[in-house]
Subunit: 276 residues, 2 copies
């Protein structure tokens, strides 16, 4: 069986940057998990003594607090700033941008809509920057249920599908006189998604590696599944099952933006040993 990696996969710019910051900051704790990948969090803890705090109220005695890639709420940041803890901000610049858009647009009197998962820490952090509360939606029915003014601004969670974002912007353009659309979907997400789609089209079986609570990994899995029915989402090589690969000729592999290369290598190593 041939094993083929997607043309683009794994760590994005923001995650590489955050891990680099964590590895190079002594006695640091992250406010919430640094990235959505438990294996990498464990590695940082074991090798670099990077601890994970529950939230911004959990900093008693903490010397250095690293703000994770997804960002933190405006009030959370204020709590940290008023403490004695030194703050190192590893918020991805692609998340800082929608935070600022949300703040500016709400100040300019726009009703701000965020396309994303209202429970996701990135969305919570972006939403917290809107003056009078931004509305978070996932679907057109969600949008329809909102009471909105005449001037609308919309941003997206960085890891969302552009096609789903366009369903929302189409609805808004149809129904409102002015819509300011900020495409804050991250290019890295696009590239991994496009590559996953291309690979899934030709693969007999697809293995998607990433955290099961990672939004972008779930998106990759959903895209893979669309083009290759035998798609499987795993966090590490231990979850691989021999029967997935029976009678398959081409195994495609991709990984979420928070999946480190060393996990991907372990998965490939184990698959290559499976006799089918």
């Amino acid at each position: 069986m041939e094993i083929k990696l997607a043309k683009s996969y794994g760590f994005c710019f923001g995650v590489k940057r955050a891990i680099n910051i964590a590895e190079n900051t002594k006695d640091a704790s992250t406010v919430g998990p640094l990235i959505h990948n438990n294996e990498e969090i464990n590695r940082l803890q074991t090798n670099f003594n990077v601890n994970t705090l529950k939230d911004e109220n959990d900093i008693e005695g903490v010397k250095r607090a690293i703000i994770r890639t997804h960002g933190i709420t405006k009030n959370g940041l204020l709590t940290l700033q008023n403490s004695d803890t030194k703050i190192i901000n590893a918020t991805c610049p692609f998340v800082t941008k929608p935070q600022m858009i949300c703040e500016n647009m709400s100040e300019e009197g726009y009703d701000v809509v965020i396309f994303g998962d209202k429970n996701h820490p990135e969305v919570k952090s972006v939403q917290s920057y809107a003056k009078n509360g931004a509305k978070v939606v996932l679907t057109v029915p969600d949008l329809k249920a909102l009471k909105l003014g005449k001037k609308i601004a919309i941003v997206s969670q960085t890891t969302r599908k552009i096609e789903e974002f366009l369903l929302l912007t189409d609805y808004l353009v149809r129904n409102f006189k002015e819509v300011r659309v900020f495409n804050t979907i991250c290019n890295a997400t696009f590239e991994n998604q496009d590559a996953a789609k291309e690979l899934a089209k030709e693969a007999d079986v697809m293995v998607v590696i990433g955290g099961k609570n990672s939004s972008n990994t779930k998106q990759l899995f959903s895209i893979s599944k669309e083009y290759c029915n035998d798609s499987f989402l795993i966090e590490n090589e231990k979850e691989l099952k021999k029967e997935w690969f029976e009678n398959k000729n081409l195994c495609g592999i991709t990984a979420g933006a928070s999946t480190p290369d060393w996990i991907i290598e372990k998965v490939i190593g184990k698959i290559s040993k499976i006799k089918v």
Copy 2:
């Protein structure tokens, strides 16, 4: 054969307003044809002595100049303002709006895109308000061919189809970080279009009445044709052909936003006398 009028058809607010102004202004000439309907222009000339000028340079000795529904270029307006002629502005307020958007957005440093026909007087008038020249496009390939900056604003000719506008805004949202979308398509156009579509679905033959150089009439015809293959575009009852109605049960009728009721009535009168 049954004859059925579309639920919404004919004169829009802006046209009704302009005709009312023309009928009530003594010794007036319009700068270019007041609306896109020759029959109505002739009626205004005969009954109200409303003359039609070639353009804004043709005002020697003219007492009162009426600016037509489609508006006039910014320079054209300046020429008129510097003359001795009194100006009566019958520009549709729904055209004044994209003019202002075009001016403001270009002043704010946005690259302005206009969805429309570059030879249409409305589009020319809107375009003239952009400081550094707005780009006029009809299709996504037109858009792709443009060199655009990072910040884009897009407006539409009032009489365009929303579905085609969305193709353009989708392309822009996919490819640019910030897009300001101003849906300047007129509701009246929407309503006439929706009603034409509904009627064309059930009709065996559709008669669309309006100026053959009228953008919104051509749109109505194209929508009718999509749902009812036997659709015909006519300017007046003289163009009706008996064979269109042979073996038909339901004749649908709609009319463009510049088509006066008295023309529609004549058409219905003639069709109702056709024996099929």
